[in-house]
Amino acid sequence: MSEILDDIIARYREKDGNVIFLLQETQEALGYIPEEAVGYFSKKLEIPSSRFFGVVTFYSQFHLKPRGKNIISVCCGTACHVKGGSKIADRVLRDLALSAEGETTEDGKFTFEIVRCVGACSIAPVVLVNNRAYAEMSADGTSKILREIKKKESDESK
């Protein structure tokens, strides 16, 4: 890990970098922000860890735990909300047997997130599956997509 982090630090020093840049790069490289990475940056750059933690927990982009293999994001922006986005969200929770938004399934295959507007309001409600947008989705349609991914996953593991 330290090689990856050293590389990020080098680029940070090159640019007029900041803590957010470091964290974005770390998340890009590692998928989340491990505590050890923060400790490493803090020591190397003499920036208190508390500042990193403050920034990580402020911005919704950052995650302190590894996320699932597939990210299911249900948009609950205004347009999606008025067109039933929350029903889709309820369905995903049920299908993945999760209790709250932001959780990852035990097998690490899925993370479910609610996002606040992805800027695709004219095709609401929108569901993002691994960053691909699905237009005018329904609860049933979402269930179908989840079934397909699950099937693919189990085929792969065979």
């Binding site: 505590e35 208190p48 990193f52 403050g54 927990t57």
Partner: protein, 346 residues
């Protein structure tokens, strides 16, 4: 210098100071909670809102610089209503346990609730609940009582230069904590405790040691390093129950871990409480007369046998000037030698 009018009183004040400071010069008190004169302005509690002529909405006096010709009003039904609302909101997310709180009587929030007479609260709802956990022996962190004024964060960063804590999360869930919500790991100077306006940060050593009644406060000078910080000892009965320092002292009220929390040795059960004389190789209790006569007799005997220069005194950089003076006077005038030194040589 600029001319400002606050609540009808006009004054000429230096450019760049805040409306709050200008009001202070005019002896006008504006309630504050997050403001601390030695820390950078924050503007979070919103209690110090004032109305300024020509500005459409109330502004925080702690952040707004004065301008020439400015006319400010610090109290009006609208402002008082806003302050009341703010206080009620803060109290709606604050444990109602002043009766057991270590800060009771020394708490800005309690003081404000009292002066605004807030008994009934229009607002109710979820309160932040945190499991108390902090493995350090000095600072009690009861974050349910935290009002997010940020003074502790700022003092740690701006004064102490450490940054052991910071704001984390956001909105209603925001809290002030060490990184990754671990136990506090810092210099334990307790500056954060000193600036906390509520019972969120208190000294662990203070616990159940006494409230205001019967506590005497005595000014003295710290007995540790050479900085010579001014301390206020809180004393109840024959026990020091708390140490802090006043903001107007040379050390500006700031202390280090030893000065602020390193006082319990005074009451240690291991203190020497009686003179000891070595008898048959063992140190045994003796009366003062016995001990003093013995000491004087032996010193006198050695002096008579070997001369004054066979004796020496070693004094301490931790004793007072007067004691040191008397000590060397004893060695020089009573024993008659210049064999006297102290450890400051090192």
């Amino acid at each position: 210098m600029v001319k400002v009018t606050i609540d009808g009183k006009t004054a000429t004040v230096p450019e760049g100071i805040t409306v709050l400071d200008a009001a202070k010069r005019l002896h006008i008190t504006i309630p504050t909670l997050c403001h601390h004169p030695k820390l950078s302005p924050f503007g979070g509690c919103r209690l110090c809102l004032v109305e300024i002529k020509g500005v459409p909405r109330p502004v925080t006096s702690c952040t707004t610089p004065v301008a020439d010709g400015m006319e400010a009003t610090t109290t009006s039904p609208n402002l008082e209503n806003l302050r009341r609302t703010v206080l009620e909101l803060v109290l709606s997310d604050h444990p109602n346990d002043c009766m057991v709180c270590e800060r009771a009587g020394d708490c800005t929030l309690q003081e404000l609730a009292y002066s605004y007479g807030i008994r009934e609260n229009r607002f109710e709802g979820e309160r932040r609940t945190y499991a108390k956990r902090d493995g350090n022996p000095f600072i009690e962190r009861d974050m349910e009582k935290c009002i997010m004024c940020g003074r502790c964060v700022k003092v740690c960063e701006e004064v102490e230069g450490v940054g052991a804590i910071d704001f984390a999360y956001r909105g209603f869930k925001s809290k002030i904590c060490p990184p990754f919500e671990r136990d506090l790991d810092c210099e334990f100077c307790g500056q954060c405790v000193a600036v906390c306006p509520t019972g969120a940060l208190t000294g662990k050593l203070w616990k159940q040691k006494g409230r205001q009644k019967d506590v005497r406060e005595v000014e003295t000078t710290c007995g540790y390093c050479g900085c010579g910080c001014n301390l206020t000892l809180h004393v109840k009965g024959n026990e020091v129950t708390r140490v802090d320092s006043k903001a107007e002292t040379l050390n500006e009220g700031w202390l280090c871990v030893k000065g602020r929390f390193g006082y319990s040795f005074i009451g240690s059960t291991e203190r020497l409480t009686t003179p000891l004389i070595r008898r048959e190789g063992k140190l045994e209790p003796a009366s003062w007369d016995e001990a003093l006569d013995y000491v004087a007799g032996r010193l006198k005997g050695i002096k008579e046998e070997h001369g004054s220069d066979a004796l020496a005194g070693l004094s301490s950089a931790r004793c007072t000037n007067e004691e040191n003076y008397l000590f060397q006077k004893l060695i020089r005038a009573a024993i008659g030698t210049n064999n006297v030194d102290h450890c400051a040589r090192y």
